[in-house]
């Protein structure tokens, strides 16, 4: 593997982690969706680059899925949903931005320490990708626990899944990557359609999960 191949892959994977951090401090839903779209775009580029340097044409399919589905269709649908629901207000964060960022830094450090140590035998690119992928995954999880709004929960989950795609493409020659990314797209489509069609808005007038909890308390 030439130096440029590696550097470029490294740059793209690192950008994914950076964008995950950007998502942590977005306090408006519209901005959050846009940043997610940006991450999906970078992911598509990263996957396409992996397809090119590994000479694995099937990965282009995954790249196209990431580009069309996650960078265009889903953000578009989410924009429409939040407009319909009228939730352009600030996101309620359970934890403030400062502590969240600190926790994020801690998680990335943890991911680096764990993954770089255990993948000592693997090749350089796979090591970096695995470490970055775990960072993106943990940051996605962090976002899911620090946000209450259902739309930002979805976005947190999708960014977590971006980390998984990065890991799957970074593990050279992994079979079934395309199938798995299709399966994940189905899952995400379900979630998005679910928020819309499951009539969470209609029944609860909000997509705030904590409102669902409050509702349940009242029922008891």
């Amino acid at each position: 593997m030439s130096g440029l191949d590696f550097d470029f892959a490294h740059l793209l994977a690192g950008s994914l982690v950076l964008i995950s951090f950007m998502m942590l401090y977005q306090d408006r839903l519209t901005a959050l969706i846009n940043v997610f779209a940006l991450q999906a775009l970078v992911l598509a580029m990263s996957v396409a680059w992996q397809a090119y340097i590994q000479a694995a044409p099937h990965l282009y399919v995954t790249a196209v899925i990431a580009l069309v589905f996650k960078a265009l269709v889903i953000p578009g649908a989410l924009h429409r949903i939040i407009k319909r629901l009228g939730v352009h207000r600030e996101i309620e964060t359970v934890v403030g931005v400062g502590p969240t960022m600190l926790a994020g830094i801690g998680l990335v450090a943890l991911a680096m320490v764990v993954m770089l140590r255990v993948t000592a035998a693997a090749d350089q690119l796979a090591r970096e990708d695995m470490a970055f992928a775990l960072s993106v995954l943990l940051l996605g999880l962090l976002m899911m626990v620090t946000r209450r709004n259902a739309v930002s929960l979805i976005i947190g989950f999708m960014s977590l899944e971006n980390g998984l795609v990065l890991a799957a493409t970074g593990a050279k020659g992994m079979p079934l990557v395309v199938e798995i990314s299709v399966a994940f797209s189905v899952l995400i489509a379900f979630i998005v359609v679910g928020v819309f069609l499951f009539r969470i808005r209609e029944r609860f007038d909000t997509v705030d999960v904590s409102a669902l909890d409050r509702f349940r308390e009242a029922q008891k």
């Binding site: 255990v118 695995m130 775990l134 008891k220």
Partner: protein
């Protein structure tokens, strides 16, 4: 592409899938319910034939001595639940809780769920197994939310989010296993084929395998309902239709457990990797004791039995975590007995909730007076699940405890403690449910008793006499599990 003749493994996948397609189009729910049962029976028959003759191991599909136990149990309970479901949904249609259109959907999803679970059990490929478990999760999410009430939607949403995160973690673990396998097995499809991996796992990097197993245990453990990842389970059981509660408790938890067992076998075959046992023992014990205490505070009958499922999954994971031929045997036996008993309990609870018009424990009293058959079935079922002799669960719990005493006497103390706490809670609640002054709701139940009696009969028979053929089979599988 070479022509592959259709064998029994393909059939147990094709039958549910084709039936799901047919059921999605059929308007009549009575006919659908019958077709549903017929297809489930056909799948069961084909699955049983796997005991006798087994197709060769493929790159994607395989059946071995371990999976055949799960498959037959899966299709058996799938069949009896479809019988129960027929009577149950007829009542739901009458009272208008479900519409014809939703039922069409319900039946199609039922078969799709069976397909997903069977696929997970016969897959020889770790990626395929993951996709199958995801499919099974999605179908159950949809079915949990089918009543479209506030609570049902909330339960489905919670299940969805927690299940998805669990599944995501499991995928990361799967990818790590592949990364560990690649230097030894080589790139490509072989790196995910379980039968190839288990042969060569001794040469894998142990550190990577350890990290992978932690992710897999957390990920699939969410689906097993292990504390502290169990939060979705009680809601999903309480708010969905009761046949789905029975399938969730009796089958889907087992399928996720099967995935964990497969990876445990991989780790056990690599001597440098960490022993998966202590992790599983800890999670099992925590689930057992936590759920045992939670049983006391439940006000909803289905929610209570959902916690009882967490408790028993804890015992099963504990037994497999202990390892060794005796504990594994006890774990397998306990899993089988729990599936049969718990689904029988849910069958009777489903009818009870229908005649009483409530799921609240406070609203259900004196069942043995108003509905003698249902009431006594529940009494027998709860006695069986609480671990009283002469039922099969007594045998398996006894085996778990005695094997623990033989090897780690100190661990037996929390185990017995948890079991006793749960035992007390169940009998305390049963007292109120079955006896005392009856509450209103004396309408006759249009119940199909056959599935309940069949299951409890099997559990009783297993407690009294266990056929040597099955014993030797389980012993063989227990040795395989290491």
């Amino acid at each position: 592409m070479s022509f592959v003749p259709i064998n029994a493994i393909h059939l147990i996948l094709i039958i549910p899938l084709a039936t799901a397609a047919v059921l999605a189009l059929l308007p009549s729910y009575r006919l659908s319910a019958r077709i549903n049962s017929a297809a489930a029976l056909a799948t069961l028959v084909v699955a049983s034939s796997l005991f006798i003759r087994r197709p060769a191991v493929g790159l994607y599909l395989q059946v071995d001595d371990l999976s055949v136990v799960f498959i037959v149990l899966n299709t058996l309970v799938g069949f009896t639940t479809s019988l129960f479901s027929g009577g149950y949904i007829a009542h739901e249609i009458e009272i208008g809780r479900l519409t014809q259109v939703r039922l069409r959907f319900y039946h199609a999803m039922y078969q799709l769920l069976m397909f997903g679970m069977n696929l997970a059990l016969v897959s020889n490929n770790l990626g395929l197994m993951w996709v199958a478990i995801e499919l099974a999760t999605l179908t159950t999410v949809v079915m949990v939310g089918i009543y479209r009430t506030h609570e049902a939607l909330e339960a489905a949403w919670k299940y969805f989010i927690l299940g998805s995160v669990g599944i995501a973690l499991a995928l990361f673990g799967t990818i790590l296993v592949y990364v560990a396998a690649r230097p030894v097995v080589g790139e490509g499809l072989n790196g995910m084929v379980w039968t190839v991996l288990i042969e060569k796992v001794a040469g894998f990097d142990p550190a990577l395998l350890n990290v992978a197993f932690v992710f897999l245990l957390l990920g699939y453990g969410t689906k097993v309902g292990l504390a502290p990842l169990h939060a979705w389970l009680p809601d999903a059981h309480a708010e969905g239709p009761t046949p789905i509660s029975a399938v969730l408790s009796g089958l889907l938890l087992n399928v996720a457990l099967y995935a964990i067992l497969r990876f445990k076998m991989l780790l056990a075959a690599n001597h440098a990797a960490l022993a998966p046992g202590p992790l599983m023992v800890t999670m099992g014990l925590v689930s057992l004791i936590f759920a045992a205490f939670m049983l006391y505070r439940r006000r909803d009958i289905k929610r209570m039995f959902a916690y009882s499922s967490i408790e028993h999954m804890g015992v099963i994971v504990f037994a497999f975590g202990m390892g060794g031929p005796l504990a594994n045997f006890a774990g397998l036996l306990h899993m089988t007995m729990h599936s049969l008993t718990k689904s029988a309990i849910f069958f009777s609870v489903g009818h009870i909730a229908q005649v009483k018009g409530t799921q609240q424990i406070a609203g259900i009293r004196g069942l043995t007076v108003t509905h003698p058959i249902l009431g006594w079935t529940l009494v027998v079922g709860v006695m069986a699940i609480a671990g009283l002799p002469p039922f099969g669960i007594f045998t398996s719990e006894f085996l778990v405890i005695s094997s623990t005493f033989a090897r780690q006497p100190l661990l037996a103390i929390p185990l017995v403690f948890g079991l006793l706490v749960a035992f007390g809670a169940l009998l305390l609640r049963l007292q109120g449910l079955a006896f005392g002054e009856p509450t209103p709701g004396t309408a006759k139940a249009h119940a199909s008793y056959l599935p309940m009696f069949g299951h409890l009969g099997l559990v009783l028979a297993a407690g009294l006499y266990f056929p040597p053929l099955i014993t030797s089979w389980f012993q063989h599988v227990a040795r395989m599990l290491g």
